[in-house]
């Protein structure tokens, strides 16, 4: 083994054998759980304490948001397929699935824009009542996370178009995937808490 190889090996030496970047993402996700946990708790604590309308039941549309939720879940499936394609070196499929993941994420964001606009037209705002404050801040922060994810995925997609996303870079895709799946899981919780449990008294 040449000295260069030894150096390269030492660069990749880790105690657990896991890549540090991947562990970083897991630890970050732990922190994000506390972040969204605090926001969700705030939403629940203020649920049903509006002093004036519009109330959740006046605005929330479960059928509409079910569609965008389905779209986001499908983007998670595309993410799995994209990672698999990158790992196998199937460059064409990697490009297709990476783009589809980001594209479905953008559709979800489009749905959020439509929803926010609709709510605003019906008088809901950050300052209107507690539903407005908690709803916009909670779903807004989730949307911001999706936006970051979409930019990240598009960056990877451009890299794959330039032919710079071979199987040796699959870790980069895997880490982006961890983030993306986490953001999806958060949405499943938000969908349950905000839309499905809107009649529940807390």
């Amino acid at each position: 083994m040449s000295q260069g190889d030894t150096a390269a090996l030492e660069h990749h030496y880790t105690t657990t054998g896991q890549p540090s970047r991947k562990m970083l993402m897991w630890a970050f996700i732990g922190s994000e759980c506390m972040f969204f946990g605090s926001l969700i708790t705030t939403y629940l604590v203020y649920h049903g304490r509006n002093l004036q309308g519009p109330y959740p039941a006046d605005l929330l549309s479960v059928p509409f948001i079910s569609v965008t939720t389905f779209v986001l879940l499908m983007s998670s499936l595309m993410m799995v397929l994209a990672l698999s394609a990158v790992q196998r070196g199937q460059k064409k499929w990697a490009r297709v699935f990476l783009f589809l993941t980001a594209f479905l994420g953008m559709i979800f964001l489009g749905g959020q824009v439509i929803e926010f606009t609709h709510f605003a037209e019906n008088g809901l705002s950050l300052s209107r009542n507690l539903f407005g404050s908690t709803f916009f801040v909670l779903t807004g922060f989730h949307g911001a996370h999706v936006t970051v994810g979409v930019i990240w995925l598009l960056t990877l997609w451009v890299q794959s178009l330039r032919g710079k996303l071979g199987p040796e870079h699959s870790l980069s895709v895997e880490i982006a995937g961890l983030y993306w799946h986490f953001v999806d899981v958060v949405w499943v919780v938000l969908f349950t808490v905000i839309y499905l449990m809107q009649g529940v008294k807390t």
């Binding site: 732990g30 705030t42 002093l51 300052s127 009542n129 404050s133």
Partner: protein, 605 residues
Amino acid sequence: MATSEAALHSPTGAHGHEGTYSGGIWSWITTVDHKRIGILYGLTALMFFVLGGIEALIIRLQLHGPNAGIVSPQVYNQLFTMHGTTMIFLALMPLGAAFFNFVVPLQIGARDVAFPRLNAFSYWTFLFGGLFLYSSWFWQAPDAGWFGYANLTSTQFSPGPGVDFWFLGLQLLGLSSLVAALNFAITILNLRAPGMKLMRMPLFTWMTLVTSFLMILAFPAITVGLVLLMFDRFFDAGFYNVAVGGDVVLWQHLFWIFGHPEVYILILPAMGIVSEIIPTFSQKPLFGYPVVVYSGVLIGFIGFGVWAHHMFAVGMGPIANSVFSATTMIIAIPTGVKIFNWLATMWGGKIRPKVPFLFAFGFIIMFIIGGLSGVMHASPPADLQQTDSYFVVAHFHYVLFGGSVFGLFGGIYYWYPKVTGKLMSETLGKWHFWLMIIAFNITFFPMHFLGLQGMPRRTYTYESGLGFHDLNLVATAGSFLLGASFLFFFWNFFRSLKKGEDAGENPWNAATLEWAIPSPPPHYNFDTLPTVRSRDPLWAEDGYEKPAADQEPEMPAGSGWPIVVSSGLLLLAIAAITSHLWLVGVGVLIVFVGVYGWSFQPVYR
């Protein structure tokens, strides 16, 4: 090249690597070396420590006698707010971070942290956050107290930019701490040298690991609390506005879910340092190592279940009060365990009362006093008498000054030879220690009595005839003596750089890996990674093995992108305070460019 090769071939040579710190200002701005970043953290933290100390002295001057008017009530409120915020976020935490940076990679046998550029980013964001917060003195400093209770922080009761400076600064500092904590958790878990099992790690590294996880899990709560405050103040949301159904107690919960783990974030690193110093100066391995580790971990866990003991006066009801009272009393157990282990370590050891040992011993005694008054207000009926009085002020100064500050300064005396290659003066150090511990007690011990006599915390002044005068005068005199004790420290600190004796590799005959390499260490720390076979590698026979090096290892190259991203974030904070939308755009653009430049820059060049 010749000198570095000579050093390579004699890695056990007595001469340190002065080249570690050479290079111009640019090499410091773009540095990703954990040792340099540790030094930057340490010097910046000491600077803010002095500023926070000056604020404290003005507070004491105002309270020296009845009806004094040294400063206006408004300025007084700003002084105690900035004093608390400074000492916690800008002095003690970064001083801990300085040791994490410099010491932890050396203790685990690593060449750097897991993410060197992220580490630089943490430092610059901390520096900019601190400067941003301090720039408020030129405009309007925050005045709502360091825990900024709602709705005192609302635009109705705190108009003007003071509170905006406070929460934007804290957001920057929080981000910096979170990123640093993630970095250190992964470094400790993943970059240990072969054979450095978890239960062989030095106690300071262990406490850094626990502290890092506390930061990772606690900071999001205050981030959310501050985000809600931001939406209230900037966009008229109603989170803490009772008029629209909001609840001011929500802030208290979010703040203290962060705030109590924060207490352990401040004290655990000091406990880790004490657990290094006491075995070294007793020349005896730490007594009951696993128990000391587990008690630290336990403190971390229970630390998340005690936050509402800061809120007994809110009126949460008997069940919540009882539960939080019980958990608070339970947390005294692992703390007591540690104290007995330190005492047992000293028992029968060859004690050398050098300056670091004195500080560690001072820590133990002062922390016991602070801990005992802590157990007192774990009981809600007692707490209702003591809360918001000077008794509480005395309590947390015994914990944070008598505890953290004594521990951290012990750490400075202990590792200064490793950082600089020079020994600090023992004589000046002893002057510093004895003056500091005497003055500390003159300052803060009378506050227990003042509190029990009914002097309220944060009071601007008091009437004569209430019986507060004499003890306040004593406390004020003590505080100036306390300030003077640090003159000895700074004199020693700067004088020893030039005139200190050469330290050599291991001046204290300590047991851990950082003492196996030259002082100051070469920029790559270990030319070959050591294999560790013992908990005390330098004391045990055949405790570690380090093969001879045949070449200098390649290290990550410096990078200017971290400071670019940090300055983009600073610009965003400035944009928020000046309400310039275009500046937000510029800030976002700089962050964006910085992140992309960073991502596509190879680590090794």
